[in-house]
Symmetry: C2
């Protein structure tokens, strides 16, 4: 569970144990059991987080009537969001895991608007939270001024378990959080025993490992106890230590109160009717009643809600005061919050002509990104192991060098979810497979992340097969400009730019404008005998091959791009999957690429202008006097 | 660099510093500089590992004249393999990174037969090594007997750097190595300062982190020193500690001796002619000569080679002695070493009839794997977070529960490379994206790994686009048997089985035999009006849809499976990419799947028998009186 809150005015262990706390915690436990039981056989009982989630509400400053102001979430989150008064009704809790309900089995922001981050597979949440905390630190450094109220000042909380820590992506992100000294990141580690006992596969000393990352750690031994003083005291201590992130290890029992407590049976399935009754009895609740929320609980959370509303009102006043002193900064803050780009970007983008020297598209990308970086202060990004290779601007402030592709991608998702920064990430395409789980989540969560990638292989098929992900493989400098323009103006989706390390010429007729349309005719001839289709570095090659043909031509979208009756030859120095639906012949790679010079690889796989021209002539010959199957003549 | 060696008879810091050692180390440094310089602008100078690689030869027992006996390798490995007398000539070193040379930029076992593991992207080598060490521990427990010579007894060495440790996959694998107490795994961590200085992005306390994993750690401060006493003493100490893996932190300078020493310029590019001369001068070598290997060096390594030959001869004698006592065990060892399966498996496989109850294909998979596990002692596998979900046999000895998908996949590659075990791995298909970098390496390295996977999405496009990877999605129990048979008999390639959690009936006409052919006609009719094509759980649905059609039929391979002139409707409850090359209409999912019940998801996306029948009728109507484009009428 990831939660953001403005810094509370006062905090500390001074808050005593209140009897209402017990009622709340047990209510959450019972609601969780009811939801899982109602959802069917394969739900997951997450009541174990009840204590931690409730303790956090002592520090929360969230205003449910304006979910955009703040509030991120995850597993127990539906119950908490309901209790806090967000737009999730008790009936939504009853529809847990039903198709198209607001409360799916894995939170999804497009189903539940108040959920800003998708929990996703294990380990992603931690890395997302590092992104949120990093965004806060960066924005605080950018906007806060000593002589004005702090307008950026919040903590990021994570509730996590063994499974999250076992996934490598969490190690990558936590190591970076330690390195960046993200002191306002607080993680509550749920040390329960899942999958039989975790000891079967997980015996490491978590606190020692996390301290090695440069973190501060605390332990709370009896995490299931109703008296939350120790937990609240630990949270208060974590808030005081601001030079390092804090991990609080909370020892708990999974399925607390159930006959299956401490076993993996609680993880993969509902407790069963009888066991749910047993849990309720043990907790002093009516075993016959389900989905019960008492007035005690409602009142306690109404107070949390009121505090959140007051906090937002205070922030609005503070922002007005800030705005009087720092007009331009405040305007930039408001522009970012509204999701607008600064004015005048389009005019400042370069255009390239055929007289310009050939260059690698990643070099043009570096140039464009450099200009964009000056114009758009929200751009913030990282590069995995290739600052020099990927030609990123050398702005140490915003372009961080990170060798952990997966952690970086997941952190970018957190940055994007924060809303006031626009993340980009660069790596070698091969490494995108390290990062893909996070790329997929970005697509699912509609995160606005630009990913610039260097050379390539079968991974492209995966990217193209991913819903909500735009994949652009520009052919020259103008198309690079067009690709960035499309990426910046894209609705909330991640965009992948596939860039080359080989130099390619600027192409006559290439267009930043048309690039955003997905496909266009670069070289038109009268009456085509064959259409050559290509992307990226192979476009220049296709044009050279065309010059070697007796007759040639593509013409006018869809059928205007690919004329029916004209055989199509696709050229892409990558895997051939996916192209056969558009083409009658595909020139590409039918085995893994190699780490040798591109020219030699291209020659090996027959990706040369001569080979393409020869193939095109053979295709023309093959279809002479025959009907050319119309690739678009499909029913769907 | 991963090296295996039998346990040396004697070891310890007692081995004094020899002047020849300096000559060897400096020769390796100069050869590395020469190779990178010859290869062109973007090579990598890995001379920094020279000291560690040479120190290891004191412990090596490898026989170059029989590379199958032992000897794994990586970055500096070509030089070492050359010096040790493996089939890599000085001329091969000169052809470093040239197309189709024996010495590509990233080692590949199919290019260089003596290289048994592909280094691959960062972090993979460590996890592979954990697999090698795990195979050794498992085989030692299986074969060694107190009253006979040890026939399995070797160490696994890894040379690694900061980049390897930053990738999460190494954390996953190292945590498991600590958990499994793999005491014969020794890692030499090269603490140099890469990418500017590593401090820019990597400040964690590596030894503390690794100790948290349950490892033993040692430090050698002056790793570049020519006097290797400290390094050799640390290695000896690491050999003595056999209850935990050991990490030896060796502090070094990247590009030692170069004017670029300690900068990231050494990582991404050659030193340049002048700097190579400078390095040679500093090391007391002739700056005008390249690729020089003196007699001193040749003689020292001849002794290592002789020791390896003697070690193999000793092992052969020991094995004969062992065989006299343990005939059956020895026969099983020899069978495994020859890569043969035990006899009589085919006869013991179950067949299923339409009278059998419907079941999830993952349930049949569990049943088949259970039988195979009893018949094939070499089978060894793990499951990520789904022992109960994935229906694996509950053999605690061989089926390990591991929640780290990527680490698990990479460890399986190490297990497969060891040669005497046949690894399988199971996880949810979604998690395969966590593990994909290792799956890809398995395909590249031709590792024999079976991966059983549960429910699915666009990831399938990636798997199908991966060269050398077989993807099988069985439709019922008989096809599950067929899929395992195909996987076990596959040439050295990884196989992915995509299994369902939904129950499906046993299909009339389903065949274990035909499953291995990739596609077959399940239900034949006279004169087809439309062909329904499906995989996995959608086959039963397609057959039901066929019964709703007035006329129906698929017929006889390639065109015999898909008759020209008959429109094709493909049904797969997954992404539609890739199917359009075979089909005139595709029924599938055009957005991300959800975590809800399959029935509800299928209804949402129109994947029901009624919807498929309706679509088929519409397709027939659409093509009535029109030519149906022949999807196979392509030139290629």
């Amino acid at each position: 569970m990831t939660e953001s809150a403005s810094t509370p005015a006062s905090r500390g262990p001074g808050m005593p144990f209140r009897p209402a706390d017990a009622t709340v915690i047990n209510t959450i436990r019972c609601l969780a059991a009811d939801m899982v039981q109602t959802a069917g056989p394969s739900g997951r009982a997450h009541g174990a987080c009840a204590g931690r989630a409730h303790a956090l509400t002592r520090f929360l400053r969230a205003n449910p009537s304006n979910p955009r102001w703040n509030g991120h979430a995850c597993c127990l989150q539906y119950i908490l969001l309901h209790l806090l008064g967000y737009d999730i009704a008790l009936d939504d809790l009853k529809r847990y895991r039903q198709l198209d309900s607001k409360t799916p089995g894995h939170p999804e922001s497009h189903m539940t608007p108040v959920v800003e981050l998708i929990a996703g597979p294990l380990g992603q949440g931690i890395a997302n939270a590092v992104g949120l905390a990093m965004a806060e630190a960066h924005l605080a450094a950018t906007f806060n001024r000593p002589d004005a109220p702090k307008i950026v000042d919040h903590y990021t909380y994570v509730i996590l378990g063994d499974g999250c820590l076992q996934e490598g992506v969490s190690a990558e992100a936590m190591s970076l959080a330690g390195h960046w000294k993200l002191g306002k990141l607080i993680e509550l580690y749920d040390d329960n025993k899942i999958d039989g006992t975790t000891d079967l596969a997980f015996t490491e000393n978590v606190c020692q490992r996390v301290e090695a990352f440069g973190w501060h750690t605390l332990s709370v031994p009896h995490g299931d106890a109703i008296d939350q003083s120790a937990l609240v005291a630990a949270l208060a201590e974590a808030h005081r230590v601001t030079d390092r992130p804090t991990l609080i290890k909370v020892t708990t029992t999974i399925g607390f109160g159930s006959s299956k407590a401490g076993t993996d049976k609680v993880h993969g399935s509902a407790l069963g009717v009888d066991d749910v009754k047993r849990v309720k009895q043990q907790l002093g609740f009516d075993p016959g009643a389900a989905f019960v929320v008492s007035y005690t609980v409602r009142e306690l959370y109404a107070a949390v809600r009121a505090r959140g509303q007051e906090a937002e009102a205070n922030w609005q006043r503070a922002f007005e005061e800030y705005k009087n002193k720092y007009l331009f900064l405040a305007a930039d803050f408001e522009r970012r919050a509204a999701g607008r780009l600064p004015d005048g970007i389009r005019e400042k983008m370069p255009t390239f002509s055929t007289k310009d020297a050939p260059a690698a598209t990643r070099k043009w990308s570096g140039q464009v990104l450099g200009i964009l970086g000056d114009l758009i202060p929200d751009l913030m990004g990282g590069s995995a192991d290739l600052t020099s290779s990927n030609r990123l601007p050398g702005d140490g402030q915003r372009a961080r060098r990170v060798r952990r592709s997966h952690g970086m991608a997941a952190i970018c998702n957190g940055l994007a979810a924060h809303g006031l920064v626009r993340p980009f990430a660069a790596t070698f395409l091969n490494f995108i497979t390290y990062a893909y789980p996070s790329v997929r989540l970005a697509a699912l969560a509609h995160h606005r992340v630009i990913r610039a990638r260097a050379p390539a292989d079968e991974t492209l098929a995966l990217l193209r097969a991913t819903p909500n992900l735009w994949v652009l493989r520009p052919a020259d400098g103008n198309e690079v400009v067009g690709a960035y323009r499309a990426a910046l103006n894209a609705p909330s989706i991640p965009v992948a730019l596939i860039l080359s390390r080989q130099a390619v010429p600027v192409l006559s007729g290439s267009s930043a404008e048309s690039t955003g349309r997905g496909a266009y005719v670069l070289q038109d001839v009268g009456n085509p005998a064959v259409a050559l289709v290509a992307t990226g570095t192979e476009v220049a090659l296709a044009i050279e091959a065309a010059a070697l043909l007796d007759e040639f031509a593509p013409r006018t979208y869809h059928e205007s791009v690919l004329t029916p009756g004209v055989p199509v030859v696709a050229v892409e120095a990558l895997g051939t999957i996916g192209w056969r639906q558009y083409a009658h012949a595909v020139v590409g790679m039918r085995a893994f690429g190699t780490s040798r010079a591109p020219d030699a690889v291209y020659a090996k796989f027959g990706i040369t202008k001569e080979a393409v021209a020869a193939k095109a002539n053979e295709v023309i010959e093959y279809f002479k006097g025959k009907a050319v199957p119309n690739v678009f003549d499909r029913f769907e």
